[in-house]
Symmetry: C2
Subunit: 204 residues, 2 copies
């Protein structure tokens, strides 16, 4: 199920902690605890240190013959743009189970999750993408609540200009390049904050 | 830097939320929000949904010739037992930077992080281990604050009975098996809760 990005993903990168969730005090400081090296939210009343860590987004590239399954987003951000099925890994869940669950939720599609393919760090928004290759098990799929449309794409049909996220573009570009060789090593990379392009670079 | 396990790792798997960190109210319910499928901590006063997700542990197998670098833990849990350098990924950090940082902190060792090797889900404690192969850059290493001792081990010297975590045992076992073939695919697996062994299985 979708966990909203607002306030934890794109907007507020570090959750804004005003009160201690352990004791209710408002004496919250953002400082480096003794023996630590990074600032944390620390409660001056009860001493609790509130650690915050990156979230994992899991998903897959569902393959059927030479085609891959993409979903047109019915939700923000990037409503109306295309993505591979993916979403936040949940507590008590394995990465493989999470990737399969997201595919079921977004595309009503059953997959056998194969190997890990892209591992993309997004340090600016505290996320790690883990996208797997997967084998679509049947053609009985269709849009889930978070999708407007779900369909299989041949390589030459991929809507490159209408992909929702740079993680998706990078994953699919690598995928079709690697497919020519038949080898799919796990590809590790980083996406930094997108720089605002100068006006004269704007697409015409 | 180490983030303690107590209360967020091994002991309290789901952080116990008594007060809303946004508004300070104690009207916290653990229930399935509308449109969701999993229970979350929800504030009945201000409506904030407090999502909790798995943490990522990053680390590496620092290689020097045929040997690998291990650290003897100076901290609980598993004080005095051996591990590969690893720890919680921090916000604003890439997986590669995190693995290198942990190696520097625990072993004062500089590495070039190579390819991702094991990806182990621990759904019972809401953790994902990402262990990379890495090339040790020099022999100028030594115990950091969290280690009692740091040394290079040949395969036949590995203290299998004194390894700190099952993730480490599994990673090293696979590593030495794969080394015989020279191919190191990213190995994805799951470690479930360890069952308490019957008394007659106890080591003598």
């Amino acid at each position: 199920m979708r966990q909203p990005c607002a306030g934890r993903g794109f907007a507020g990168i570090i959750a804004n902690m005003k009160f201690c969730s352990a004791c209710g005090s408002d004496r919250i400081e953002f400082r480096i605890p003794e023996g630590d090296s990074l600032p944390r939210y620390v409660c001056s009343a009860c001493g609790t240190i509130h650690y915050q860590n990156p979230k994992v987004v899991v998903g897959c590239i569902p393959e059927w013959g030479g085609r891959v399954l993409l979903c047109k987003r019915a939700i923000e951000p990037r409503h109306g743009l295309w993505t591979v099925p993916a979403g936040f890994l949940e507590n008590a869940e394995t990465v493989v189970a999470g990737a399969a669950r997201e595919t079921l939720e977004e595309a009503n599609a059953r997959v056998e999750v194969l190997s890990p393919y892209t591992m993309i760090s997004l340090p600016n928004i505290n996320q790690i993408y883990l996208i797997f290759r997967a084998r679509l098990l049947d053609l009985d799929f269709g849009p889930g609540a978070e999708s407007l449309e779900v369909r299989l794409y041949d390589e030459h049909e991929i809507p490159w200009e209408e992909l929702a996220f740079r993680t998706v573009t990078r994953t699919l570009r690598n995928y079709f390049l690697d497919r020519k060789t038949g080898a799919f090593p796990t590809r590790v990379s980083t996406l930094e904050r997108r720089l605002r392009e100068p006006a004269h670079y704007a697409p015409r």
